[in-house]
Each structure stands twice: as structure tokens, then as C-alpha cells.
Amino acid sequence: MEQWFYNDNLGRGPDNEEILLAGVSIRGVSKSFGSANILNGISLDICDGEFLTLLGPSGCGKSTLLRIIAGLERQDCGTIEVAGNKVDHLRPKRRDVAMVFQSYALYPHLTVSENMALPLRMGRLSAWRRLPVIGALLPGARSVSAEIKTEVARTAKALGIDHLLARKPGQLSGGQRQRVAVGRAMVRHPAVFLMDEPLSNLDAKLRVQMRGEIKELHRRLGVTFIYVTHDQTEAMTMSDRIAVMLDGQLAQAASPQQIYASPADRRVAELIGAPKINLLEAAPRGEGLLAVAGSTLALDSKLDDGNSVTLGIRPESLQFAERAGLNTLTGRLRYVEHLGTDLFAHVDVPGSSEPLVARLPVEFASNLQSDQTVHLRVRREQALLFSADGRRLSESDGQFTQLRSCAG
């Protein structure tokens, strides 16, 4: 609770109490630049203390939404609430949010400690007291400055950058700059952390490490994080909940497991998962049967004949089979990729230009030779069906509960 104490010093009003209650509410937010619609009526509630990731391809509007929450951009319509209060009329500094930028946006001429102290100095010292030399002589300035220094030092220590305080950003590595940027956001003890692709400028190894550190930071601070990324691995590993954005719309907001196992939409299914989900055109044949890629699958639910559907099968939902049969797809093996723990078999099946990718245990490596015919059994309960317009045809949710318990 200690962190909330500092908000009093920032001179916020009596509604401090409410900061503890809710996270961020986005209600019907739209935004267009000229004739380009960037956001189309986004509504999303983010719980207090939640780690929410806005995931989507570049240009989907996720960064714009984050900037609207921060107050750096003004929405055309809709409202943003932070901790239950509308903040649309407030400037960024009054919204109780802090932001970490993709470029880190550290002030290059200031040292690490000056960078981190800046938000506190702006909040707690009057313009006169911030003046060099004269400011320090004014009553109160010195004690506040000392207090700020202590807090910066404490935050720096928590992030393991206390030995860098005297350096300038130009003298730091990418990972260190990243930590300083996080530190500058942290010192203010904001109610909401906004992060705009903070890891995309780091090399792969550091990215994995920082992923863990940010997750740990979230656990320790317990405040709301809104994290923008186009990297599905970051989204899957760090988030409590992922909000998938496509073409300025919220396609789905759910936990990583749900997004993966039960995507609401064909595009969401394609976005999540590597290698990508296999998509095959399929035709219902009555009696719960489905003709796909020259084989027949049996379904639990009934589909109307004549409506073509798309069958989505994750690579791990395919099993090696000795012979053809019901629920088994047959094709010609193009090549095999070894990953150590698993292997990816790329199989050409009739009626699809893209090879089907199956994730198989390495034991099958010796059985598999290029150009041979292979049979793959579909784990029916994990298969996903999409209508022609991309919507997911929902099966009973029970199956997915069962699926998740199977997958551990």
C-alpha cells in the first residue's frame, strides 16, 4: 500500500481512494485520421491489477488506442475511464498513467537519475523551484529534492540500475535503457502502466529475459499494465488477458489459453500460434460428416449441407496414424523440420496449396521420408470450424474445458 501514499504528494484530489478500485474502461472509442478509420468503436474493461496485452498486426490501431488512453491522442468519440473517473478532458500528466515507449524516449542530455527524477520534479516542485541555482535556494525545494533523490535511488536499486545513475542514455546498452525507461515510469507509482512495444528494439536473448522481468515487475507492483505488442509470444507468455485487435476492431479479449484454444474468429486463430494453424476448406456431408482434403471427418454437431466451412487444425492436433480411416487425412510428405523435442512434418494434402503442418514426437523421425504417403489423425475435439465469413462455429464449450485439462 505504500505506493499510494506518494500520490498524495502529487497533489491529487480527494478521489485518491478510488484509484484503488478499478482499472481502465474503454467505452466506444473511435478514431480516424482523415479518411482512414483507425479505431472503430472499441469497448474494453480492464480490471485493476490486470496485465492486458493489446495484440495485433501493425496498423491495427493498438498503438493509437494506447496513446488515446495516455492522453497523447484525442479520440473522435467514446470515453476513457481510469479508476472509475472519466479522464478524457485531462492532460496526460493528470491521468495517473505512465508510459514506456518503444524507443524508450529517454532525454539524451539528462543522466539516468535526472531522467527518472523528472516526472517527480515536475509534479512536486513549482516552476520557480525547478530553476537551476535560484530554485535550490527557495524554501522547501531542497528537502523535496532530497526526497526525490531518495526515491529515485530506491527505484533504481529495485531495477538493478543503481550503478548507472550518473550515466547518460547514450552510454547505456539497449537493455539498460529499457530498464531506465521502466524506472522513469515506476517512480511516479502510477495506477496504470502503458507499454508500447517496449521489447521490440532488443535482441532475442535479452527480450526473453526482459519479458520475465516485466512480468515480475507487474507481480510486484500489482497495478494495471496495458502492453502493446505484435509479438504473439510476448502476449501469450506475459498476459493475464489478451485483447486481439484487427483492422481497428476488438476481435477477441480472453485469457491466452482461451485465445489459443477457442479463437472467436478465423483471423484470431491465424494470428496466434506458431507454426500457423492449418486451414482447410471443408464441405458438410450431413449426419455430422465433413468432407475435407479427400477424407471424411465425423463431427458431434450438425452443420447445414451446402454451406462451405473452414476447418482449422493446430499442428499439435494431428497425430501420426498407420493407415487411412475416419478422421484421418492422407497426404504426401514434403519435408520434415527437426526441433529437438518435436518435429514439424509438412504434408501436401489434396485441395490445399499450402502444406499441412503436423507437430509430431521425434520418435517418428525414422519413419518419415520425403515423398512418402503419410496418414494424420485429427484430434476431433481440438478441431475448429469457421464459417465462410470467418466467424467461429461454436461447439459446446465443454469440449474445450476437457481439452485444456488434457493439455495440462
Binding site: G71, K93, S103, L118, K168, L172
Partner: protein, 307 residues
């Protein structure tokens, strides 16, 4: 720099590959070397040598007089006036060019429309010949029919013979100098402003530095520091080398009130034909310019890299 690199590479190779490469290396730097020697080192050496003589332009004899020229320079009130006027002129032109240039650049950058137009009209004075513009200024500043005095008289301000008054002539030259350098400073500042990442302003907004002055202090001015230093040195060098306005508008007068280093040099060498004496002024001018240039190199090299 480029002329040195082949030589360095060559030195490393010499042990293994013998003389052919050595010769090739020297052949490659030769053109640059010749140019430097002919265009810079020889004339500078000649000026130094002449400065130590009492040579008059066209005279058949000369004698070596050591540092006597420099000694008499220091005692010469005209030269002291030139030195003082030049310093005063630089101190007037440089700060006003920098402050006005930055102010105009910020104004133009903050506006949405007609940016190219404003940039062009402010850059025009820099592009045109100052000699031609000096004549326009002369007409504007004419004591009786000049527009300036007529305007001043119309609104009841005191008029003056601007270019003939001892106290007004140098400030007026400084105004013209500022007017001319402003475009250069403006364009360089505009380029510097464009290079500031928007993220920094966003970060400043979030950190609470969202007032005009705070944004200037936290983001704009520090980010412009390298550009400002560059502008400072370029404008200073130009101000030191002011000659055309003095020659055309005042000829150093009245009573040496507007004489400046380069004009003094010209007058001694080509009007009074005291070439040795003029060369001594050239040496002093050279020392000042080289010091400034060295300063500039250090500043540019020590510019912090922007992440």
C-alpha cells in the same frame, strides 16, 4: 581526412608488399596534397613572410623588419578600433541571430500552413548578394528620402543619419548582418527541430513537462544544442569576415567608427598599399579564424550520439 587514409593503410602494407604500393599510396593522396599546399599552406606562408617585411605593393625593394608590423599594429588606433568594432559587431550579430533564428524557427514549425513560404522568404537574404542588398539598405537608411526615417518621422520617433552617426553606424551594420544571417540560422534550426523525435515530446507530456517553457527546456533546447553550436560557429565566422557592407555603405567611417578587421586589412593592403602591414592584419585574422575553426571541430567531434 580522406587524403590520410590511404597513407595509413599503406604504412601497414609496406613491410609485406614493398615499394609499389607505397608509391601508389602517395600518388593517390598527391592531388589533395597539391591542392592543400598550393591553396592554403603556400599563401599562408607567404602572408607570414610578408608580414615580417615593410614591403609596399609594387615596390622593388623590401627589408626584413621582424615583428615591427605587429608592434605598430597594437599602437595603431585605427587597428584597435577595427579590433574593437569587430568584437562589438560579433557580439551584437551572433546572439540576435541565434535568438531570432530559433524564435522564428519555433514559430514556423508550430504553424501548420505556409511553412515553405516563410522558410523561403527568410532564407532569401542569405541567398542574394549582400552587395546588391547593401544598396537597398542604403536607400532605406537615407537621411532625408529613406523609408526608415520617413516612417520614424511619421510616428514621431527621432530620426538620424544612421550610416553617418558614430553611435548608430555599428548597430545598423549589425542589424543588416543579422538580417542576412538569419535565414541560415533559421533553416539550420528548422532542420534540427525536424530531427527531434516526437516520442520525446510525448514522454515530456506524460512526465508533466507539458507547458511551453517546460517542453522547451526539457526537450527542444537540449536536442538543439548540437545544431545551435554549429550555427553559433558558422554565424560567428561570417560576422568576423564582414566586409561588403562596410565597403559599400560606410568605408569604415565616420572616423573609424565602423572599421572592421577585414576592411582594415583591405584598406592597408590595397588603398594605402602597405602590403606588409596588411599581411600582419591578415595573420591576426587568420589566428582568430583558425581558433574558431578548431573550436568547431572539437565541438562537432564531441557531439554526443543520440540514441
Amino acid at each position: 581526412m580522406t587524403s590520410e587514409q590511404p597513407a595509413i593503410v599503406d604504412r601497414q602494407l609496406r613491410i609485406e608488399t614493398g615499394h609499389a604500393e607505397t608509391l601508389a599510396g602517395y600518388a593517390l593522396i598527391a592531388p589533395a596534397l597539391v591542392l592543400i599546399v598550393v591553396l592554403f599552406i603556400l599563401p599562408a606562408g607567404a602572408v607570414l613572410a610578408i608580414a615580417a617585411t615593410d614591403w609596399h605593393l609594387g615596390a622593388k625593394t623590401l627589408s626584413f623588419i621582424g615583428a615591427a608590423n605587429f608592434a605598430s599594429l597594437l599602437a595603431d588606433p585605427a587597428f584597435r578600433a577595427a579590433l574593437f568594432n569587430t568584437a562589438a559587431y560579433v557580439l551584437m550579430v551572433v546572439p540576435s541571430t541565434l535568438v531570432l533564428g530559433l524564435f522564428l524557427a519555433l514559430l514556423i514549425e508550430s504553424g501548420k500552413t505556409l511553412r515553405a513560404f516563410y522558410r523561403a522568404i527568410h532564407f532569401l537574404p542569405f541567398m542574394t548578394s549582400l552587395a546588391a542588398m547593401a544598396i537597398v539598405w542604403e536607400a532605406l537608411l537615407h537621411p532625408t528620402i529613406g523609408l526608415v526615417n520617413q516612417l520614424f518621422a511619421a510616428v514621431g520617433l527621432p530620426t538620424a543619419n544612421w550610416l553617418r552617426g558614430e553611435s548608430t553606424v555599428l548597430p545598423i551594420l549589425a542589424v543588416i548582418g543579422t538580417w542576412q544571417s538569419l535565414g541560415l540560422a533559421l533553416v539550420l534550426f528548422l532542420a534540427g527541430l525536424k530531427a527531434i523525435p516526437q516520442d520525446l515530446y510525448d514522454a515530456a507530456d506524460i512526465d508533466g513537462a507539458d507547458g511551453v517553457l517546460d517542453r522547451l527546456r526539457v526537450v527542444t533546447l537540449p536536442s538543439l544544442a548540437p545544431v545551435s553550436l554549429f550555427v553559433l560557429i558558422v554565424v560567428t565566422l561570417r560576422a568576423f569576415a564582414t566586409f561588403d557592407t562596410v565597403q559599400i555603405l560606410t568605408r569604415g567611417g565616420p572616423d573609424n567608427a565602423s572599421v572592421m578587421l577585414l576592411y582594415a586589412l583591405y584598406r592597408e593592403s590595397f588603398e594605402y598599399l602597405r602590403t606588409g602591414y596588411g599581411a600582419a592584419i591578415a595573420v591576426i585574422f587568420l589566428i582568430i579564424v583558425i581558433t574558431l575553426a578548431a573550436l568547431q571541430t572539437r565541438v562537432v567531434n564531441s557531439r554526443p550520439s543520440h540514441p
